[in-house]
């Protein structure tokens, strides 16, 4: 096991090397590119599993913390050096497995999905770069290294979202994603600077000298800044800003739905299952700091930072769920659902600790991957149609997709017992219930759970039930002009095996995973904390009231959804949504995403434009202004001089001129132009002066 622990850096390095090599390959070598990228990812998965097993063995040995670190000097600085490091602990190991597994599936799925794209060589280069960065975030033992990978990941996602760069909407969405997450990144950057300044190290663990270890935490927790906050809280909040940006939490959620402009299932999956989880992972990674530097037991963490985490999470969970209700685009619904679920993860982290949040992260990654791939399959089958109003009745046309999608939907909605989503969400609600500072997160969480069940039912009903409504395309939009549809089903077909097999695999994992974290057998939590789990049904009994609440809420949500959408299928694609006809104003507001984008456009973006214009003018004015000023000054001088002249002339200067003219006539005889006469006059003057002086000297 030490072999893998000391070579943990290989996991991100392999895809990185693959990306580098692929970048140099010519465009036509797509087979080699695909082989390299997928192979490196497969190897990474194998290594990740090995690492995971190693951490399993770790606590079997009875070690208190199954954490392995490997630090090294990056460059010298001052009297010391800047150090980076890698680390393997249960938290990282489980993320590694999740990321490399889901990642590998994406790679395989993309082989089929991108088969006809002329630029697929480059696509796999970006994918590998992305995977490498994400894995780097997971294994980094240094905030600096984590930040570096974090940024590279941002760029990779920028490239992937904007992969179809010829679509202006994709280019804009890519830019938006990069910039909005960069706002968060600046918070992270400042937090990192502060951390470095305060503790002198950015290593998380360094045999007692790391910034997440007791000494540093005590010091940070003991440093008061202002307003009663400690340095630990300040840093934690700044890091939280970074996590909010990356995980699309309110108020920086606006980029995530737009990011669906990328190649359909792949980019969406990245932005739904893996990359956005990085924010949650960051909070989990620095959790000791989040607790305010005091090592409080899980569940009572009531530091300011954790309250912020919980608050942001709860708010996002409900807010995004509301927006999801009114969306028509199958991917956008899932995107908002992702935002909402990420909110749950934050809520879980804030109220329940690492294990609660991370458990939901893992389960969510699998079923959301499943849903997105299913959506991709649906879109692929419906000829790039993404609007659920133009679908319907796909249950019979795409049976495999339907079955697997249903599994994912029930997991997301939180249907009890067999679906992983139920257990992880239940843990979160449980933690929120017993959270001391406030009941509000719990209430919001319950509302969110209801809405989740509702909008997922709506989606199911619209897509898979009723009649197929896609006979005529609503608009000849982006993409390839549609071929003629044969038959009533419009040529809808089930997807090929390379796409359905990952669906089935993911559906299976979704069913199994939930059992790792039930109250009766909290293996996941035990694993993360480094001790072993015991089966105890008594705990289940203690948790049952909460489970009951959860079940009731979910049943209500699904029931309402079915009552509104499933009971009577939509007649035509252009018919208004039932909710829309009932509450038109609210529905349209939600559909317009509550005008948050417009708000930002009118404030932040507008402000930036105005400031830019002002700065541009200023530069021109400083330049032109100087010239204008000089011109103005000389004109002023000329004006005053003229007035002075006229004044003096009017004061009788004319009279003086007459006598001058008379005198001038006389003097003009002297001014005959002969230089020598002048010189002679000068000489005479000199002589006269000399003689006068002489005379005066004699007699003075």
């Amino acid at each position: 096991m030490h072999a893998i622990a000391t070579h943990i850096w290989l996991i991100p390095l392999l895809p990185l090397l693959a990306a580098g090599v692929v970048a140099l390959l010519p465009k036509r070598a797509s087979t080699a590119a695909i082989g390299l990228a997928t192979g490196s990812m497969g190897l990474a998965l194998v290594l990740s599993l090995a690492a995971f097993l190693a951490t399993l063995g770790g606590h079997a040995d009875g070690a208190a913390h199954a954490t392995h670190i490997g630090n090294f000097d990056w460059f010298r600085l001052g009297t010391g050096s800047v150090r980076l490091g890698f680390l393997l602990d249960p938290l990282g190991a489980v993320m590694l497995v999740m990321v490399s597994f889901v990642g590998l599936l994406i790679f395989i799925f993309s082989i089929g999905y991108m088969a006809h794209d002329p630029n697929r060589t480059r696509f796999f280069c970006f994918l590998a770069l992305f995977a490498s960065a994400m894995l780097g975030v997971v294994v980094a033992n240094s905030l600096l290294l984590l930040f570096a990978c974090w940024e590279v990941m941002g760029v990779a996602s920028y490239l992937l979202i904007g992969f179809w760069y010829h679509k202006p909407s994709a280019a804009v969405a890519a830019k938006k994603a990069f910039l909005v997450t960069r706002i968060g990144d600046i918070g992270l950057f400042l937090g990192m600077l502060w951390m470095y300044h305060a503790t002198g190290t950015l290593l998380f663990f360094d045999d007692g000298r790391g910034c997440l270890e007791a000494d540093a935490l005590t010091q940070l927790g003991g440093t008061a800044v202002r307003g009663g906050l400690t340095a630990a809280t300040g840093i934690a909040l700044l890091l939280l800003v970074g996590a909010i940006g990356k995980s699309g939490q309110v108020p920086l959620h606006v980029w995530l739905p737009d990011a669906m402009e990328g190649p359909t299932p792949v980019s969406a999956l990245i932005h739904a299952a893996t990359m956005v989880a990085a924010g949650v992972f960051l909070v989990a990674r620095v959790f000791p700091l989040m607790t305010g530097g005091v090592d409080t037991p899980v569940g009572e963490g009531t530091s300011v930072a954790l309250q912020a985490v919980a608050g942001v999470g709860a708010l996002t969970a409900v807010f995004a769920a509301c927006l999801a209700v009114a969306q028509q685009d199958i991917k956008r619904i899932l995107a908002y659902s992702t935002v909402s679920q990420l909110g749950y993860m934050f809520l879980g982290l804030g109220t329940g600790g690492v294990a609660v949040g991370m458990f939901h992260l893992i389960t969510h990654a699998f079923f959301k991957a499943l849903l997105f791939l299913g959506a991709g399959s649906v879109i692929h089958g419906c000829h790039e149609q993404q609007d659920i109003r133009w679908m319907g009745g796909l249950r019979r046309l795409m049976p495999v997709t339907y079955a697997t999608y249903a599994v994912g939907m029930m997991a997301l909605a939180g249907v009890p017992l067999f679906f992983s989503g139920f257990w992880s969400k239940d843990e979160i609600l449980h933690a929120a219930w017993s959270w001391a500072p406030s009941r509000w997160p719990f209430v919001l969480g319950v509302v969110g759970a209801f809405l989740t069940a509702f909008y997922m039912t709506r989606q199911m009903a619209e897509v898979f039930f009723g009649q197929y409504r896609g006979g005529v395309r609503p608009h000849v939009g982006h993409g390839i002009p549609e071929a003629t549809h044969g038959g009533t089903a419009g040529g809808v077909h089930e997807s090929p095996g390379v796409m359905t097999v990952p669906l089935v695999l993911l559906a299976g994992s979704t069913l199994v995973l939930g059992w790792l974290g039930t109250p009766a057998w909290p293996w996941f939590e035990a694993y993360l904390n480094g001790h072993s789990a015991h089966l105890d049904f008594g705990r289940l009994a203690a948790a049952w009231p909460m489970m009951l609440v959860s079940v009731v809420v979910v049943a209500l949500g699904i029931g309402t959804g079915w009552w509104v959408y499933g009971r009577r299928s939509r007649v035509g694609a252009t018919a208004p949504d039932p909710l829309e006809s009932q509450f038109p104003r609210i529905f349209r507001g939600l559909q317009a995403r509550l005008y948050v984008d417009e708000l930002y456009d009118a404030t932040v973006v507008r402000l930036h434009h105005v400031v830019s214009m002002v700065c541009g003018w200023m530069d021109e004015l400083v330049l032109g202004g100087l010239v204008t000023l000089v011109g103005l000054g000389s004109r002023l001088a000329a004006f005053s001089a003229r007035s002075l002249d006229e004044l003096l002339v009017n004061l009788g200067f004319d009279a003086g001129c007459a006598s001058t003219r008379w005198g001038g006539r006389g003097f003009s005889w002297l001014q005959n132009g002969s230089a020598q006469r002048y010189l002679g006059g000068l000489g005479l003057g000199l002589a006269t002066l000399a003689i006068l002086v002489l005379w005066g000297w004699r007699h003075g």
Binding site: G664, F667, S668, W669, L670, Q671, N672, G673, S674, A675, Q676, L679, G680, G683
Partner: protein, 103 residues
């Protein structure tokens, strides 16, 4: 007789010769030569006063002469350029050719 006086007499002689020439000659160049002689006479006095004068400052007189030489150089350059310009217009360097600036 103090030691500076011979030099001062020499300077006076130079000055007078220069002045007489500058007044008498028609050629503008030679008039300029006369002026140069007068300037040199002044320089000679400066140096004489510096060497034998009562003031103890070791440098000022020399400096004055030095700067004067520099200025004389400038003056000669401009004067000769003027003469060339004059020659181009009048085909002559006679001072009478330049008497058009009369009142």
């Amino acid at each position: 007789m103090n030691p500076a006086q011979p030099y001062l007499f020499l300077a006076a002689a130079l000055f007078i010769i220069g002045m007489a020439g500058a007044l008498a000659r028609r050629n503008a160049i030679l008039a300029l030569v006369g002026i140069e002689l007068m300037l040199n006479a002044a320089n000679l006095s400066f140096v004489a006063f510096w060497r034998h004068g009562p003031h103890p400052d070791p440098q000022t007189g020399l400096m004055f002469a030095l700067f004067s030489i520099a200025i004389a150089g400038a003056e000669a350059a401009v004067g000769l350029a003027l003469i060339i310009a004059l020659f181009r217009h009048r085909r002559s360097v006679s001072l009478e050719a330049a008497e058009s600036l009369k009142g």
